[in-house]
Symmetry: C2
């Protein structure tokens, strides 16, 4: 028994994962890609299997005070298959393990599964296995998603090249604003249970939080256009954090233009209500499940007509670092101030 | 919102799983076998992928008062790959998702991973992915194991035929007795912290609980002997419960002989110390991770020389029910009084 005690918080999440997995040596020739990307890749005689897993814990990842069970079920699936799409793969199966205390009724579980099945049906994924167990406290969800991809089509975080264009799908920051509204309403409700919330104006950002979608359409578009990104990651922890993953794993720097970051009008309006900078929300808010990727400049023509994709910057030599050029023309180093940071 | 409330406990674990998964329609042709067996099967262009998942929650599945973290890591892997072996498949990869409160130090996590890696190395399995997150309370482990099998070799729970021999590997009941000893010592320690436990005589049953092994050797033996069981399941919830799964899913009855149930001398001695019937421990104690399977009578010659395998009964027509013939010659219906029952 080791008597030292190192606080896990001293490493941070990514430092912890690095620490725990640094000595892994893969033993099976079928293990093509292990820990360290959105998903792992396993060879199966020609096609490759992609696998990703997530653990969601009540009170840490979701608050059932304002998250309907059906939405939680839906989102649990989306969060995982988003990792599969981020490998440029197609999700096909998933397993679901649930833990719950006796606070939960069968009807509550049914609603959760309704959401799971709705997402499975929409994305053509089969729920093939799972485990249910009791927990001493709260609701625990573990989803593992399986997908498939041709060996020459999968996209890692590490393949970006100097000069590649940095692109992102959809709009960013919405889910974080949705969370702020719901947290505020919860607080009001706790203080004055009679007050009815009016969240209609915020339905877009709240929808982004409670019923996110995975960007199957973007991966389908890559297939149709025969466009292969050089690197890709899904935006679950905030744009800054994901950009830094691509820079680190591709050993590059980048330039990001603030004015190019896609933000919806609703999100910007919502940010102003909270008196926070929409750019900060877009950079640091998590759970948008958009795709961040790089492509060679020569492929620009293929995506210019897709309105769901924004070019937000380009990759540079590593010694130039990861920088953002603000609207005012200033240049700042990008730091990984993700979701957790904003929550503090 | 549905306002009815049905207590989940009114269904039981297996009733709950049936309820939640009864409407699943598999959408992908690659989804060969879904919910309802030890593992799911996914076709990958010739070979088939087997996948199984488990969720383990502190205070429900393990007590860290007497479970060293390294053992917990080892056992978390064993419990899952045992499900893969129970499909007559070979485990190849796994993903691991962990949740933990700030009560846990980095050193504690390192010990857990030491156990995970030890099991991975012993069984030739690669840890290829995972997730780490905080929890509000306690330690949560979710493991998903992947394996492979030829399409003509996988073994479901549902393939047993009337007249087949019912067989089991190793000895049963040991892990349950190990648990009783550790629970007793914990109680003594809580009451008189100075007392040093003497558990040396019980090292076999305690080892069975704290460092179980998966029966790779039995699956390897099947391969060498070209012996294909007609059905198989791993003994994680107790022999009775697993026998009833095979009977139900194969739509058969069975006869089990009490005198044939394999029990070690150490287990029997330990049971007598607690003044409980060793047969009850073997029937109802869980976590032995032995393999329970059926073979055609014509294959009997192939396994008669393997001392690790006991023939304990045979399968009958469904209308005869599932029965145990006691040493005294009495005949009783087998009931699913598993692990949880004994814990009450």
């Amino acid at each position: 028994m080791n008597n030292e005690r190192t606080e896990i918080s001293s490493l941070g999440e990514f430092g912890l994962i690095e620490h725990l997995t640094k000595n892994i040596e893969l033993q099976n020739v079928s293990s093509i890609l292990g820990v360290g990307d959105d998903a792992a890749i396993i060879d199966h005689f020609g096609k490759q299997t992609v696998i990703s897993t997530d653990l969601l814990v009540e009170g840490v990842h979701f608050d059932l005070a304002y998250t309907p069970m059906k939405h939680l079920g839906y989102k649990s699936v989306i969060a995982n298959i988003s990792d599969i799409y981020a490998m440029n793969a197609t999700p096909t199966q998933l397993t679901l393990a649930l833990g719950f205390s006796n606070r939960f009724s069968l009807e509550a579980l049914d609603e959760f599964y309704d959401g799971v099945y709705a997402a499975c049906e929409k994305y053509g994924v089969d729920l093939v296995g799972g485990d249910t167990t009791s927990s001493q406290k709260g609701f625990i969800v573990s989803v593992t998603a399986i997908g498939e991809v041709s060996p020459d089509k999968y996209v890692k975080r590490s393949g970006a090249q100097k000069g590649d264009l940095l692109c992102v799908s959809g709009y960013l920051g919405g889910a974080y604003l949705g969370l702020l509204f719901l947290e505020r309403e919860k607080k009001i409700f706790m203080e004055s249970p009679g007050v009815q919330p009016n969240l209609e104006d915020e339905s877009q950002v709240i929808g982004k939080l409670l019923k996110p979608e995975a960007r199957k359409d973007i991966v389908d578009f890559f297939g149709r256009e025969n466009l292969l990104p050089t690197s890709m990651i899904d935006v679950s922890d905030g744009l800054s954090s994901e950009i830094l993953h691509i820079c680190k794993q591709s050993n590059l720097g980048c330039v990001l233009y603030e004015e190019k970051i896609p933000m919806s009008e609703e999100m910007k309006r919502a940010a102003f209500k909270f008196e926070i900078d929409p750019t900060v929300c877009a950079l640091s808010g998590g759970e948008d499940y958009e795709l961040l990727f790089t492509i060679p400049q020569s492929e620009y023509d293929k995506l210019v007509l897709n309105e769901e994709i924004s070019v937000i910057g380009y990759m540079t030599a590593p010694e130039e670092g990861a920088n953002i050029i603000t609207k005012g023309g200033g240049k700042h180093v990008i730091t990984a101030q993700g979701w957790n940071h904003l929550n503090q």
